[in-house]
């Protein structure tokens, strides 16, 4: 009495979902008078057809892995952390301070401290909402929304009035010193004979993001703490019976979540821009929500969803470079992908499941 083969569950259905999303996107492209087939080809070759394209795809994916993991950990503890955006902003400040004010001998040391700086600042920004939720019952959704706005204001102040070098027009910090600059994938792969595009911003942060996936997996699915977080998220009453402290779990989950959001800045701030700019997060905190939900709050799901979004970002860039298709089309495609793979999943799943059961029954007779 098999329900549905596993391959159909993990491959066929997502594929069909994506297909619908892309077909609809194609209709939108047609409607604005462009050729959808060309557009798709351009997106795919632009994002995946060269090491250059991969370089950007992976760069964006790195950001989304961090924020996606962040949202998913909080989610597992039944906390909807909408504050990834603000936590990443403040995390960027932490990275910037570390990079600007500590003289590092080598990037390997710098990145360690930058990770800590980003994580500590990001976690600190999640701390107050977490505490208020745990002790005062103030809903974390409201407080994290508020903290996003507060973070934007704080960063605006700091970048315009405090960290901006004299005469600089852009509200940004000075460039980080040479020794904090992270090797790109080109630098990493060149010694082993792989010629990866030099100009793509993807850097060693990618490996840290991948490691973060693994660590979050181990933490959530293999460690006692993860066990407690998941248990608490599913039933706070039962957790109390088991001796799990709600206060501790709420604080820890939000700190981990904020820390991961904050760590995103080693990629965009330290790795790419090499300075902190005002709008460095660019909504990655919000994309993280979509990534986490689409990845079913599982680190490996988050990884896949982050790659998908990286692809959409980079593919979309190529579209706007070579066609007159407005950049907003990419947002529409993203929306359709989220909608069909994430929310309207059952629209495809139910009939496919029925078809499998029917054919299985027929086979049995």
């Amino acid at each position: 009495m098999q329900k549905m083969p596993k391959w159909a569950d993990v491959a066929l259905i997502p594929f069909l979902n994506l297909l619908i999303a892309f077909v609809l996107s194609g209709l939108v492209i047609l409607a604005i008078g462009e050729n959808p087939i060309n557009a798709l080809r351009m997106m795919i070759s632009g994002a995946l057809g060269s090491t250059y394209g991969w370089g950007y795809t992976l760069y964006y994916a790195t950001n989304f892995i961090f924020t996606g993991l962040a949202v998913s950990i909080a989610f597992k503890a039944a906390m909807f952390n909408i504050g990834g955006e603000g936590q990443a902003m403040i995390g960027g400040l932490g990275v910037a301070l570390v990079c600007l004010y500590i003289p590092f001998p080598h990037w390997t040391v710098a990145i360690l401290f930058a990770m800590i700086g980003g994580a500590v600042f990001g976690a600190a920004w999640a701390l107050i909402p977490a505490y208020l939720q745990a002790r005062r019952g103030s809903h974390v959704v409201i407080t994290t929304i508020m903290f996003n706005f507060i973070a934007a204001a704080a960063l605006n102040y700091v970048l315009v009035n405090v960290l901006r070098p004299k005469g600089e027009m852009n509200p940004q910090t000075a460039s980080f010193p040479e020794t904090t600059q992270l090797p790109t994938l080109h630098d990493v792969l060149a010694p082993i004979g792989i010629n990866f595009s030099k100009s793509a911003p993807v850097n060693v942060s990618l490996f840290i993001a991948l490691a973060a996936c693994l660590i979050v997996y181990l933490l959530m699915w293999r460690s006692r703490l993860g066990y407690e977080i998941r248990a608490f998220g599913l039933s706070s009453e039962a957790s109390v019976y088991a001796g799990i402290s709600p206060f501790k779990i709420i604080m820890v989950a939000m700190i981990l979540s904020g820390g991961l959001s904050g760590m995103m800045s080693i990629n965009n701030t330290m790795g790419e821009a090499e300075r902190l700019v005002l709008n460095s997060v660019e909504g990655a905190g919000f994309i993280g929500i979509a990534v986490a939900l689409m990845g079913r709050n599982h680190p490996f799901g988050v990884l896949l969803a982050a790659l998908l979004f990286g692809f959409l970002y980079q593919g979309g860039s190529e579209l706007s470079l070579w066609t007159k298709i407005p950049r907003e089309l990419v947002i529409v495609i993203q929306a359709l992908v989220i909608l069909f793979t994430g929310a309207l999943d059952n629209m495809v799943r139910a009939p496919v499941e029925r078809a499998f059961i029917r054919s299985a029954k027929r086979g049995a007779h």
Binding site: R222, R230, A231, V240, Y241, G243
Partner: protein
């Protein structure tokens, strides 16, 4: 009795309900297989069967809550389609579900009128319902304050609301799914009086229960279900509990508890002057003192709501209190960091909670993760300093599930997909096998079938015989009387007194549970 005369009419009157060839599958689970049954009007028809036999599913189909894959339904001889509950209500069927379908933060009145309001505006509906509730209350002894919120009512009263709901909808066929599972004996008696009254008025009643005593006491006919099939239907007067038990489980079941006399050792648990105030500022424990020795079972009897739950919570470490608790002579913290479930477990206190779904299990965790719930810090479950040893836990879970006869014995299944009895077995397996010094047990067999009850009782006694202390809380007097070596009665946050099981009876305990004291303590 009335049912005698009715028995004679059966041939001429069309059955109130007739089901033909009902089948229903939930994915791979065949919950009902080709079931046929007919129920005569004006009778009480019992349905028994093990946990997961498909009783609730069948009734939900009759009530239009689930749709049958196959089969026909006849009401008073007419084939009737019941695609949804609306149709069932129209056909005169009312149902009291095992898990009540009440809106907790609504008043009684609002729950009663929900779905059968008289017009677009609420007020007239409420006024009308208030009136007819009053007359229903008088007619059937169903007294409930119409303006209380459901969440402020005890389960017994909530059930009355469910019955009122059905009567208000003018049901003449009433289905009750395990109505006495959560009731005190007094409440159950009350319910049966009501049911008898309803039958006398010509209503048809289907009663699902695990308690053979109830079947024998009140039903006219009884059907037995096993593994999704209807295996037998017999006249109640032509059968006996042992026979029914055998039909149900498929083997002989011991309906009595077999145990050797206790040989109590040193005091394991000592409680002195325990006081506890709940979140609403109400004092729930008003100076409890008791002790449990090694190798004995102390049963605590009482009508639910008299502080037993709070006593368990305090002992289990998830409510704060004042007073003194000693385990093997050492006192333990009653507030602060070390007053939690984890610290209690570290002190050798295991705990089968009253509500397995709310407290005892994470319903969305697979069975194997539930098997270490609360003990997940134990060294033997760890692979190293950071990681748990999942492979080993899985193995342990498999082993426990096999030995405790958890069905199906698949540790990867989520807790929620086990039937109540099997969920309880998972909890019991987890707690007992930790080899605790003290086992706290709350309502160990609530909603559990007789086969599983037998098994769980055996486990508790075996633990006692190993020289462990057991504190048992149950609203089933029968269970208390048969398992306990000593019985304490709780009333209004006090211990009313203690008795030895062979020197007391249900009547005396019942009086004490109602707050009436008699002669001195036995202890």
């Amino acid at each position: 009795m009335a049912d005698m005369s009715k028995g004679g009419q059966q041939a001429t009157v069309a059955p109130a309900i007739e089901l033909r060839g009902i089948s229903k599958a939930f994915g791979p689970v065949q919950a009902n297989k080709d079931i046929s049954i007919s129920v005569q009007p004006g009778t009480i028809h019992g349905i028994i069967g093990e946990n997961g036999a498909g009783k609730s599913t069948l009734m939900s189909i009759l009530y239009g809550f689930y749709k049958a894959d196959e089969g026909q339904i006849f009401i008073h001889g007419k084939e009737t389609q019941i695609p949804d509950s609306q149709a069932a209500i129209a056909a005169g069927i009312g149902m009291v579900f095992q898990h009540f379908k009440l809106v907790e933060n609504f008043s009684v009145l609002e729950n009663v009128i929900l779905g059968v309001e008289d017009g677009a505006m609420l007020r007239p509906s409420l006024a009308k319902a208030r009136k007819s509730l009053k007359s229903l209350a008088e007619e059937y002894e169903l007294h409930v304050d119409p303006d209380t919120l459901i969440e402020d009512l005890g389960v017994g009263v909530q059930q009355r609301v469910e019955i009122l709901k059905a009567l208000y909808r003018e049901a003449d066929i009433l289905i009750l799914d395990e109505p006495t599972g959560v009731l005190t004996p007094a409440e159950a008696d009350h319910l049966f009086r009501i049911l008898n009254g309803l039958r006398d008025q010509g209503k048809t009643i289907i009663l699902i229960t695990h308690k053979l005593r109830e079947i024998m006491e009140i039903t006219d006919t009884v059907s037995v279900m096993r593994r999704g099939e209807m295996t037998a239907t017999v006249k109640t007067k032509d059968t006996n509990p042992e026979h029914l038990a055998e039909l149900m489980v498929g083997r002989k079941v011991l309906l009595r508890v077999d145990k050797v006399p206790a040989s109590p050792g040193k005091k394991i648990l000592e409680v002195e002057n325990l006081r506890m105030v709940d979140d609403h500022g109400v004092e729930r424990l008003k100076g409890i003192s008791l002790n449990v020795r090694a190798g004995e079972i102390l049963g605590i009897a009482g009508v639910s709501g008299n502080g037993q739950s709070q006593l368990l919570e305090v002992l289990g470490g998830y409510a704060n209190a004042t007073g003194e608790i000693r385990i093997s002579g050492d006192s333990i913290d009653l507030t602060g960091k070390y007053s939690d479930g984890r610290s209690r477990r570290a002190r050798g206190i295991a705990h089968v909670p009253e509500d397995r779904q709310e407290h005892g299990l994470i319903m969305d965790f697979p069975a194997w993760q539930n098997i270490v719930f609360g003990y997940h810090h134990a060294p033997e479950y760890q692979k190293n300093k950071f990681l748990m040893d999942n492979a080993k836990i899985l193995e342990i879970a498999q082993d426990k599930m096999d030995r405790f006869d958890v069905r199906p014995p698949n540790p990867q299944l989520e807790a929620k997909s086990f039937s109540g009895g099997n969920q309880q077995k998972i909890v019991v397996a987890r707690e007992i096998e930790r080899n605790p010094d003290l086992l706290l047990v709350g309502q160990p067999t609530r909603g559990v079938d007789i086969g599983a009850i037998e098994f769980i009782h055996k486990q508790i006694i075996a633990l006692r015989d190993q020289g462990k202390a057991v504190l048992l809380i149950s609203v089933e007097l029968e269970e208390i009387l048969s398992l306990s070596d000593r019985i304490a009665v709780m009333f209004d946050g006090h211990i009313m007194g203690e008795r030895l099981p062979d020197q007391t009876d249900e009547r005396e305990l019942g009086l004490m549970m109602a707050g009436v004291t008699q002669e001195g303590d036995a202890a």
